[in-house]
């Protein structure tokens, strides 16, 4: 076909004869609109024999028990008292353990696919934690899988807190391997090595949860300083995570 000539418009009869292809196109649009409900569920079903073993799961559970034992009682008490004063609700989330069945920590979309979904009670926005701290939040759910937007994804925004200087900031994914922490004040007085945790006032993710460590600080950033944060949860190596499922409020 020479350049500049458009292909001939097929006749109505040919279009009707091509009905299987229209059906296929319709099915693909259906898959697209359902955010891969059939596709990821099929993948989860077929890849089930290759899911990670239980060793790391047990290790995860023992690490969490240790973490819980080592929590400072005074801090917990203070936290409760302050949250009561602030009038913030804190429901106790249930934990759903899920296998990581697909991961893309360094691609265009920084995401994980988990082998648990709506049937296990997971909903949009639920926080996902692994050994080391917060990993991300659930961005879409199918009956048997859930897709997690990692803290490094460009869509991720989480309020965080630097305990040493008591400064608040917004942890923003910038599509690199480390997220950026944007402070809300001009002089946050932070330095490399400071520990970053989720904001004590957060209602989206559990407050006071480990996020990472400040790696470098840019004091000259405008309008406020920024910092690069090294995340504490090794996403490339985690095979099991826990989804903190918030209790649903009963319909009135």
């Amino acid at each position: 076909m020479p350049f500049g000539r458009l292909p001939r418009v097929p006749s109505l009869q040919r279009l009707i004869q091509a009905w299987p292809w229209w059906l296929l196109l319709l099915a693909l649009v259906g898959v697209r609109l359902s955010k891969g409900a059939v596709l990821t569920d099929a993948y989860a079903l077929l890849s089930r024999p290759f899911w990670p073993g239980t060793a790391q799961r047990e290790w995860l559970q023992s690490a969490q028990q240790l973490d819980q034992r080592s929590r400072l009682a005074q801090l917990e008490q203070d936290n409760r008292r302050l949250r009561t004063l602030l009038g913030l609700q804190r429901a106790n989330p249930q934990e759903v353990t899920a296998a990581v069945i697909s991961r893309e920590p360094e691609g265009w979309w920084k995401q994980l696919v988990l082998g648990a979904g709506e049937l296990q009670g997971i909903r949009l926005g639920d926080a996902v934690v692994g050994p080391g701290g917060l990993v991300g939040r659930v961005a879409s759910v199918t009956p048997t899988t859930a897709r997690v937007a990692l803290l490094t994804d460009s869509s991720s925004r989480v309020g965080v807190w630097v305990g040493r200087t008591q400064s608040m900031g917004l942890l923003t994914g910038v599509n690199g391997s480390r997220p950026e922490l944007r402070f809300l004040v001009k002089d946050p007085q932070v330095r490399p090595g400071d520990v970053v945790v989720t904001s004590p006032a957060s209602t989206l993710v559990p407050p006071g949860m480990s996020v990472g460590v400040i790696q470098s600080v840019d004091d000259k950033a405008v309008p406020a300083p920024t910092a690069v944060v090294q995340l504490s949860a090794p996403v490339e190596a985690i095979d099991w995570v826990q989804v903190l499922v918030q209790p649903r409020q009963a319909a009135p």
Partner: protein, 169 residues
């Protein structure tokens, strides 16, 4: 204009390998954490073998599947449709494309353009993001896909050309 490949259900079904490999994301085939563009590695030989219309439609189908598997924010459909059309035209004009270097170069350009459309779409969406992370993904994925294309695309092209051969002779 249109080849015969799309008449073979098994060859059409081979497109499902693209979302499968995207989800499985084998660690051995990653460069600095970034996977190759499986859609480009499948679409390039398909479009060259089956023509521009089939290539564009295959690009549309793959785009719909891959958009379903990723977080919202940017779509791969326009780039894959245009690449399928372009490669289909290349396959219909001039001597047949079969040299490893040509396939590698076409895959390299295709992956770069695909990544560029994703970056451009993201630049248009608030909030504005620093480019550094996206450029790193773009370069590593382009390089890796360009390196894998001579091996994978050559094999697929050989297989699919054999199916289209009788009609040419």
């Amino acid at each position: 204009m249109v080849g015969k490949l799309h008449r073979h259900p098994w060859y059409v079904a081979s497109a499902l390998l693209v979302p499968w490999l995207t989800l499985a994301s084998p660690t051995l085939l990653r460069l600095s954490g970034a996977p190759p563009s499986w859609s480009v590695l499948w679409l390039l030989p398909w479009a060259i073998s089956d023509g521009p219309v089939s290539g564009a439609l295959a690009g549309l189908g793959l785009g719909l599947l891959l958009d379903a598997l990723t977080l919202d924010g940017a779509t791969q459909i326009p780039a894959l449709v245009l690449l399928g059309w372009w490669w289909g035209r290349l396959g219909r004009k001039g001597p047949p494309i079969e040299r490893s270097f040509s396939l590698g170069l076409l895959a390299l350009i295709g992956t770069f353009l695909l990544g560029l459309t994703l970056i451009l779409q993201r630049l248009g969406l608030p909030p504005q993001l620093p480019l550094a992370g996206s450029l790193r993904t773009l370069l590593t994925q382009t390089l890796l896909t360009g390196l894998l294309a001579p091996m994978i695309c050559s094999l697929l092209l050989l297989l699919w050309r054999q199916q289209n051969a009788p009609s040419r002779g």
